[in-house]
Structure formats: C-alpha cells, structure tokens
C-alpha cells in the first residue's frame, strides 16, 4: 500500500467535509478497497472511514413501511435485523462473502463500488430501493450505470438505503466458487403492483432488470411462467468460471428457483 492518512469522522457532515479533498476516498468496511490498496491500484491521500458515524448505522422501519438501512451498516447486522421485516433481503445479506467479511462489509460500500458480481445491487434494484445520499435521493433504476459506475458524484456519501418491502422475495445465488461472489445471482421481488427481477454477476454492464421475466411473472407468478423465455448470451460475462452462454442459461435457472422459493 501507498501511504495515506485515515480520518474517522463521527457525523455525516464531517465526513462530507473530509471527502471534499480531491485525494480523499471513502472507506466503508474495506473488504474490497483494502485488497485493492494492497495491490497499489489506488493512491488516496486520505481515507475517510464511515463506520464510526452513528447516524449511518442500523436498520429501522420507515414511515411507509419500508426497511431503512444506514449506509454504514454491516451485512451481518442487516441479515439479523431484517430477518422478520424483509426475509428476502436478510437472506441475501446473510450469504455475502463469509462471516468475517459480513461483520465488516457495508451496504453503502457495496452499492458505491457496484461490483458487477456483488449481491447488494441485486437487492437494491430488485426492490426498487431508494439510495439516500448526503445531498439527494436516487431511485435504484437510475443509480446503477454500468460496471463499477453509479450515479454518485465525487464525495457523495450513501447515508441510507430504503427498501420497499414486497409481498414475497428471494435471492438465488450461484456462487463463483473461489471469490464467493455471484457467478449469477437473481433477486425476485413480488409487489402488489408488479414483479421485479434483478440479475447480478452475469452482465458486462453490471446489475440489470430482466424485464421479460418481470412481465411474465406479473401475469403468472410461477417458475413455469419463464418456460418460453430465454436470455441472450450477448453482453454476458465470459471468464474462467463460465462462458456467456452458461451465465445466460443460469439467469433463467436461478430466476426460476428464486420464484419457487418465494
């Protein structure tokens, strides 16, 4: 690692101020950033740790019944505290990485990084969540903008994520066996006004909604409703662990399993 300083603000305002320096970078749980720093692939002058900010911690139920998760809340806490309020989200959070990683990694860190194989983007997009930052509210449909790309501006901090709670939801993950990220992960959520299907791990552009499946499932919420559908392999990731054709195939299989488990 190159040398840098670490600041540990205790308020969002102090964090935003510290991040206004152009060589400053936010540090969530660090589970992706620290390995990156070890490879000397990033050279921040200052890391601004967000995990000490009390107002960004914890899970609560919002005025409209949505599950509100503080941006610096770790995966283990989300898994534990949403077990009854949003089991689909709890299941996803409780299966990210491994137990030690879940005790450090944060929802805000995951969404800000937007790794194409990360789990949380599928939950946020699949739930139609709202990403709350220090300056604004961003709908998940507008937030994810491709590989490691998001709507966040420089220095903008995810302070909270609000998940509307569906009637039923399930995340089905086919793990990449080394990294334990998703080779393909599909989050299916059934709301009164429709079904959302969000896919991670598969596309070269990161998380996406499989709209054909959403339409079919809105009409008939059963795995069988997917029978006639297929996912094109074009634009799917191809790597050591699976071809684009294989990933395209898995999208359908995992979607069916997620529906069946709802």
């Amino acid at each position: 690692m190159y040398a840098f300083d670490i600041e540990r603000p205790s308020t969002i305002a102090d964090a935003v101020k510290a991040l206004s320096d152009e060589d400053a970078q936010a540090l969530g749980g660090g589970q992706t950033l620290i390995p990156t720093l070890k490879q000397r692939l990033a050279m921040p002058a200052t890391l601004v740790s967000l995990t000490g900010i009390g107002e960004m911690q914890g899970v609560c139920i919002g005025d409209n019944g949505e599950v509100c998760v503080g941006g610096a809340t770790n995966h283990a806490t989300v898994a534990a505290e949403t077990a009854s309020s949003y089991p689909g989200l709890s299941g996803l959070a409780g299966n990210i990485g491994d137990p030690a990683v879940r005790n450090r990694g944060t929802v805000g860190g995951s969404l800000a990084n937007n790794d194409p194989s990360a789990c949380y983007p599928a939950a946020a997009l699949g739930s139609g969540a709202t990403i709350i930052t220090n300056t604004r509210q961003i709908a998940a449909d507008d937030y994810f903008q491709g590989l490691f790309e998001t709507a966040l501006d420089e220095g903008e901090v995810i302070t909270e994520v609000r998940f509307p709670v569906p009637e039923a939801a399930h995340y089905e993950k086919f793990v990449q066996p080394a990294s334990r990220f998703a080779l393909v992960g599909v989050f299916v959520a059934k709301y009164a006004d429709g079904v959302r299907v969000a896919v991670t791990g598969a596309s070269e552009n990161g998380v996406f909604r499989w709209t054909e499946a959403e339409a079919a499932l809105a009409a008939d919420f059963s795995a069988g409703a997917l029978d006639g559908l297929s996912v094109p392999a074009d634009g799917m990731i191809s790597d050591l662990h699976g071809s684009s054709e294989y990933r395209a195939h898995l999208v359908k299989v995992m979607t069916g399993r997620a529906v069946a488990a709802c």
């Binding site: 190159y2 086919f174 066996p177 080394a178 990294s179 050591l240 662990h241 699976g242 071809s243 294989y246």
Partner: protein, 789 residues
C-alpha cells in the same frame, strides 16, 4: 491392542499445543535485531529480452541499502535439476541454467530480475517501483504442442523447447505396438491432467544472516528439506562451504512438494545479508506464491488400453507432453518420468506397457512434484481408460479391475513397467470398499436422487503407487544425482530421556509425536521422555527431507536402526552391570534381565552408567550412549487402495456435489491411525480439488489468470462431506523394519479418477452420452458437456 502411546496408538499430537495457542514459530514470525527487508522486482511479461535495468532512481529512495540484478550473479552457479534423463536416442536432456535472478531474458510472469534491500518492507516496495527495466516483450510460448512445433525458444542457447523425449521401457515399445495392433478391443482416451498450484497456506519466506567474524551464513527458510537446500546452495549455486552454512527450517506451514526445492530467493537473502551486513528477510505474498512456487501436474496424454473382449488387459500405451515451465526445478525431470512411467502398469498383471513422454519448456512457472508427483497422473490415465473400456465392453467396473489384479500369491511381482511390488492385496481392499459403500443399496440412493431431480453416479478406483523415496542404488541407475537415504541420531541423555535428531522435516505430518511412539515402544519407555529435533542442519547428522511419503518408511527406519544400536550397546553395559554375558540378557519393557533369574537393571540406570562410567570396561565399551544410523531402503514401498465416490449432478446447472467418499488403503503397518486418517482425508480433498475445482490458467500472453484466491478455487469446508477411511489390516512392507508404507500421497493419487468416474457414471445414468470431461469438472464444463452430448 497397541501399548499406551506406543506403535499403533492414536496418540494425540504434542506439537498441537504450540500451534493452538499461537506459539508456532514460522519463518515470517522470526524477527532479528537489525533486520532489513527484501522485495523482488518481477517480470510482468512472460517472455522478454532485458535490454537494460536502471536502478539509479531506486537507489536514491529512502531506506534503500542495496539493489541486486541478474548481473550480480553471473559468476555464481545455477539451481540444478537433480535427475538426469536421457532421451530415447541416448542424448542427455537439455539443462539451461536457472540463475538466482533473471539475466538477459525474463521467462515467465513473476520471474525476478532485481531485488531491493531496504530498512523496511514498505521502503523496499516503494523503491522496487522505481527500478526501471527496459524489457522487450516477445510472443509468449505457452501451448506445449505449439512450443515443440515452433522456432522460438524459451532458452535460445538450446535451440529447442524439448527438454527430453523419453521412452519407458524403450525395449518394450515394439512388442507393445504389436500387441495393440492385434488386440480385439482398444480403448483410446485423450485427457489433460490439469495444472495445479500447491498452495501451502504459509507463503514462502527466507531470512539470510551473515557472520563476518566466522565468514558463515545462516538461512532460515520455509523448506521441507534443509539439508538438500544447503547442499544445493553450497555445491551448485553459491559455493558457500557446507560447514559455513546452516539452514534451519522452523515450523513450516505445509509444503505438498512446493517447499522441497531450492529457490533463488534463498540465495539472494544470503548474498544480500553479506553485502549489507545485516539479516535480510523476505516474505512472499500470495500473489508471488501463485506466480513463482513450483506448480504441479500439467500433462496432456493420449492413453490406449488394449484388451480381450472379456476385459483381460493386453497393453497400456501412452503419449504424454509434460510441461516443465520456464526452468528446470530440482525434481522436475524425475516427476514425469520415473515417478510416472514406472507406475503405468497400475495394479495389474498387464504384460505390455510403453510410455513416451516429452518434457516441454514454456513461458510459465516451473512445474515440479506436487503431492503424489507423477503417480496421480499415472493413476488418472490408467483408471479413467479402464472405466471407459469397462463401459464399452459392458463389464462391471469392479469386475474388470478384479480380473486383472495382481493376486496376493504373486508377490513379489515384477510389473511390465519395471518395478517390483513387494506386497499387497487389492481384492481385499476392493472387498472392504464395496462393503463400506454398501454398493447393493446404491441403486436405492440413485432413485432417491432422481426423485429430487438429480443424477447420481458411483465411481470406483484402484491405485498403487511407489513411495518411500527411494533406494539410492536404483535411482542412481535411473539418473538421480543424489542418494535418497535418510539419517537419525538417537541421543540418550544421562538421566535417561532422549533427544532424537531426524533428517525428515515435519510440517504437518506429526513426526514429533510418531517417532517417539516408535522409540518408546522399542525401549519400553514413556514416549513423553523422547523429543524430536528436526529442521536444523547444525544439529542433525544429515537428511534428505520430507516428500514422496518417505518420512516413516525411510527416516523412521533410520530411527529404528539407530535405536537398535542403542539397545545393542545398552545391553553390553547392562551385561557388565549384571556381571552376565550380553547374550544371556533379555530386554523387555525397559528392563535388562538375566534369563532365568530375577537379576535385572532398568534402561535409565544403564543410561546413567554410560555417562558416569565408574568401574566401566573402557577397553570394550566407549562411555556415552548415542548412535547414528543412515538408512537406505532396498525398494520403494507400494501403498495401494480402493476408493469410491458418489456424486449428485444438478442437470440444470452442471454442479457436482460429493455425497459420499470412501477410501480404503493399504499402508502396511500403521504407527498412528489418527494421523494416517488425517493424511488420507487431506490428500483425498486435494484430489477432489483437482477433479472438481482447481485449475491454473495462463492466457496466450502468459498472464496467469488464476493468480489469487479470487479465481483459483481452493476446496472449502462447504464443498465437502466427511471422508470415510479405513487402513486397517494392511499387508506389511517386506523390506523395511517397520513394515510401513508411505501414507502421505495415496489420497491425492487415488481420488481424482474416482470423482471423475462418478460424474461420468451419473451423466450416463441420466441419459447423457458423455464419456469424458477434462478436470476440473466445473459446473460450466459439465453443463457444456451435457448440452453438447
């Protein structure tokens, strides 16, 4: 029943206490006053000409003490191959120099061409980025067939990428060809034995220290065999006299072959320590381990099995390309030849065997012995093609093997591949395995799996291997440049407790517990009064180290021989004390007794007498009680096994789940069943890793795509079931005093074909016409095979 703590007891390990409390002493844990840090500057291209290296900016960086490049080592020797292989035409193999640091050319990604020594690791790392090398990238030579066909060379000075073209046994070639030509049935299989990275959990590390007053060196390093490392550095690489170099391998966090070899980093820290006058420490990170530890396997093989219609084997014939990587690692030429071709008759009476193997240089990390070393490759080829032949001929896979097994009454049995097996009972192993598996109930289990939407398969396998490496006379004839005996010194202290110095190094095998079990049993004393000293060339007579499942069979035998000498001398002393003739004494339970009398003296009193030799017959007996033995085995040992694996395959995703695994092994006499079971379970899981998970992938440019645990799939707890093992009632080895056969590698040798046979069985039972899939059988590969079938 074994005696408490003696031979055959599942004594818990005494070394565990320090590991369980964080008190292990691994090389990276050692910090010495005044130490400096070394960081290596490594090639980022697979093949390139070093035009220039500018170290001037780096030298000005804070904390930098010295910088080395390949130029600094042109006058010292190279790291040699330990085994000379001659090609079929009699020409000796090609042996390009392997320098301490790359000079002239870099030959694989990770090849070190400079090293920076600085006050701290971070300073060395910062300065390493300022070493400016102008390296002209050349096309990478990666694919073995293309390497042989092309006219660009990894080593220009040898003008070929073929290290050797070996035939085994060349005189049998014509007869084997003829037998195959005339055979009623021939099964042919082309397969890849996938390249693996050993991945001991402790990355390599080395600390060099130089004492100017005595002009002597100390190397603390992650080694499976410190004496061999000393010998290589002294005799070949650095020319440091052996008496001026101490090599210590402290606690070592696993080896699996990768820490047998001497690596350039060890020479570098010694040279650096002398130059900067301070201890110099280097600790690899995991990426360096992936890029530079010797890899394993990497064969491409075509095997043919000729047989009668009733399944009687007539001949095995193979053609193999074996990757040796960019440089010859120390055992790299022995591994694909004499540890592979000689096993190509398997457990069978097959009369004809011929092996052709070409070793190929490529722009990849060196390839050498990894757990099993050649025997897994042989077993995989044989046992996969047998399974395929059985299926083609409609013969049960157990029956076709039984039909061709060497029978118990046929030992010693000289195989068509040139080895003489001393003992075994393969039918008995198969009987035991079938009973443990409850094969009759398998169809019921298969139906249950099918009801759950899964395809279920049962794979079986038989293996035999040659280990307890190795008889020096034999390996000398075959080209080995070293002897492969081992040594032990048994020192009885005056107060009756013992220090036993052994040449084998323990890095997980449990020597500190097992060797005292043997000595305690032989002397009739509490094993807790015996301590083992290992891993330090200044304390131990000599040793060839730990690999090839040799610790017990070879070094353990040396311990037995030295202890026998102790008993013989103690008996003479006791005879003097009891005023009797030595021949009239019995030695039982630690007591020397005059036969037919109640006159006796205990071992402890004899020890004391040896060191306080009052009224001692000094003309006949020297004072003291310490004996050394070197033991050179008369033959390899030949462990064998019958394995079974049951898998479920998910037809929608191709994912394979291991439902059951059963390993029945014959390791001869077993000293500590608990430890042996652990060896088998660990080996089996490494084999499962090879079969289902692990792959080492270079792209066409020679970049290692699987260079971290983000992409190289290590087996994890949730990939596996419990592993059922049995190694009772073995057939003793006939030629070593313990009757023991090596147990370290059988699991890794026997398991890969078992798993693959099971998956093919599952797919066939599910109506998929898939006859072979190359390892690892990842979900993506299985899915692709199913959908192309």
């Amino acid at each position: 029943m074994p005696k408490d703590g003696g031979i055959g007891a599942s004594t818990t390990r005494r070394e565990d206490v320090r590991f369980l409390t964080g008190k292990g002493n691994y090389t990276a844990d050692i910090n010495t006053f005044g130490q400096a840090a070394a960081i290596f500057v490594r090639a980022t291209v697979a093949n390139g000409v070093i035009k220039s290296i500018d170290t001037s900016a780096a030298a000005e960086m804070p904390g930098v003490l010295a910088i080395f490049t390949g130029e600094d080592f042109v006058d010292v020797g190279g790291n040699p191959a330990g085994w000379l292989i001659n090609s079929r035409d009699g020409e000796p193999m090609k042996e390009p120099k392997r320098p301490v640091l790359a000079h002239g050319k870099v030959r694989h990604v990770g090849d070190a061409y400079a090293a920076v020594i600085a006050e701290t690791e971070q300073q060395a790392r910062d300065a390493a980025e300022e070493v400016i090398a102008d390296i002209e990238e050349l096309p990478a030579i990666i694919d073995m067939a293309a390497a042989l066909a092309g006219d660009a060379y990894v080593h220009d000075e040898i003008a070929t990428n073929q290290c050797f073209d070996w035939g085994w046994i060349e005189d049998n070639r014509a007869a084997t060809d003829e037998a195959i030509k005339n055979a009623p049935h021939v099964t042919t299989l082309e397969l890849v034995n996938n390249r693996l990275v050993p991945n001991a959990m402790e990355p390599r590390a080395s600390i060099g220290t130089y004492d100017a007053a005595g002009d002597s060196y100390l190397l603390q390093t992650t080694s499976q065999n410190p004496h061999l490392t000393r010998l290589l550095i002294s005799a070949f690489v650095m020319g440091i006299p052996e008496n001026k170099l101490t090599v210590i391998a402290p606690d070592v966090g696993g080896g699996f072959g990768s820490k047998i070899y001497h690596y350039g980093e060890e020479a570098l820290v010694l040279a650096a320590a002398k130059k900067v006058g301070r201890p110099v420490k280097w600790v690899a990170d995991r990426t360096e381990s992936f890029l530079t530890d010797a890899h394993g396997r990497d064969h491409v093989t075509k095997i043919e099995l000729a047989c009668e219609k009733d399944g009687t084997f007539i001949a095995f014939r193979t053609e193999t390309l074996a990757n040796v990587g960019a440089y010859l690692s120390n055992f790299s030429t022995a591994t694909p030849t004499f540890l592979h071709g000689t096993l190509m008759a398997g457990n069978y009476t097959v009369p004809n065997v011929y092996v052709n193997l070409k070793a190929v240089f490529t722009n990849t990390a060196p390839v050498d012995a990894y757990r099993g070393a050649g025997r897994p490759e042989a077993t995989y080829s044989i046992e996969r093609v047998i399974d395929m032949a059985a299926r083609e001929l409609g013969i049960d896979p157990v029956e076709i093997r039984r039909k061709n097994f060497i029978k118990p009454e046929q030992y010693p049995f000289g195989t068509a591949a040139g080895l003489e097996y001393d003992s075994g009972n393969y039918d008995a192993l198969m009987d035991k395995m079938e009973a443990m598996v409850d094969r009759k109930a398998f169809e019921e289990r298969r139906k249950q799996s099918e009801a759950n939407g899964k395809m279920r398969g049962l794979g079986i396998n038989a293996y035999v291997e040659a280990c307890g490496i190795a008889p020096s006379n034999l390996v000398g004839v075959l080209g080995s440049r070293v002897g492969l005996y081992d040594a032990a010194t048994v020192r009885v202290n005056a107060t009756g407790n013992l220090s036993v110095m052994v040449g084998a190094h323990s890095h997980g095998q449990g020597h500190e517990t097992v060797f005292p079990q043997i000595v305690g049993e032989m002397l009739g004393i509490d094993p807790q009064s015996v301590d083992i000293v290992h891993g330090d060339t200044s304390k131990i007579p000599f040793g060839m180290g730990t690999y090839g499942s040799r610790s017990l069979a070879v070094c353990g035998s040396a311990v037995v021989r030295a202890t026998e000498k102790i008993i013989a001398k103690a008996k003479k002393i006791a005879a003097h004390m009891l005023e009797a003739a030595a021949d009239d004494l019995d030695f039982t339970d630690g007591q020397f007794t005059v036969k037919g009398t109640d006159k006796s003296v205990g071992f402890g009193d004899v020890a004391l007498k040896a060191y306080i030799p009052h009224e001692f017959p000094i003309e006949d007996i020297e004072p003291g009680l310490e004996e050394t033995a070197f033991y050179d085995p008369a033959n390899f040992t030949y462990p064998s096994g019958a394995y079974a694996c049951e898998v479920e395959v998910d037809p929608d995703t191709g994912k394979v789940t291991i439902e059951r695994f059963t390993a029945c092994d014959d390791f001869g006499n077993v000293m500590n069943p608990m430890i042996v079971s652990g060896q088998v379970q660990g080996g089996v899981v490494q084999g499962i890793g090879q079969a289902l998970l692990e792959n080492t992938t270079y792209n066409a440019d020679g970049q290692l795509l699987s260079a971290s645990y983000m992409d190289y799939v290590m087996p994890r707890a949730d990939d596996l079931p419990f592993i059922a093992v049995d190694h009772s009632d073995g057939t003793p080895c006939t030629h070593n005093p313990l009757g023991a056969k090596g147990c370290g590698e059988g699991g890794a040798i026997g398991s890969p074909p078992t798993v693959v046979n099971a998956v093919i069985d599952a797919l066939q039972s599910g109506g998929k016409n898939v006859t072979h899939i190359d390892m690892p059988l990842t979900p993506a590969r299985v899915w692709a095979a199913m959908n192309n079938a």
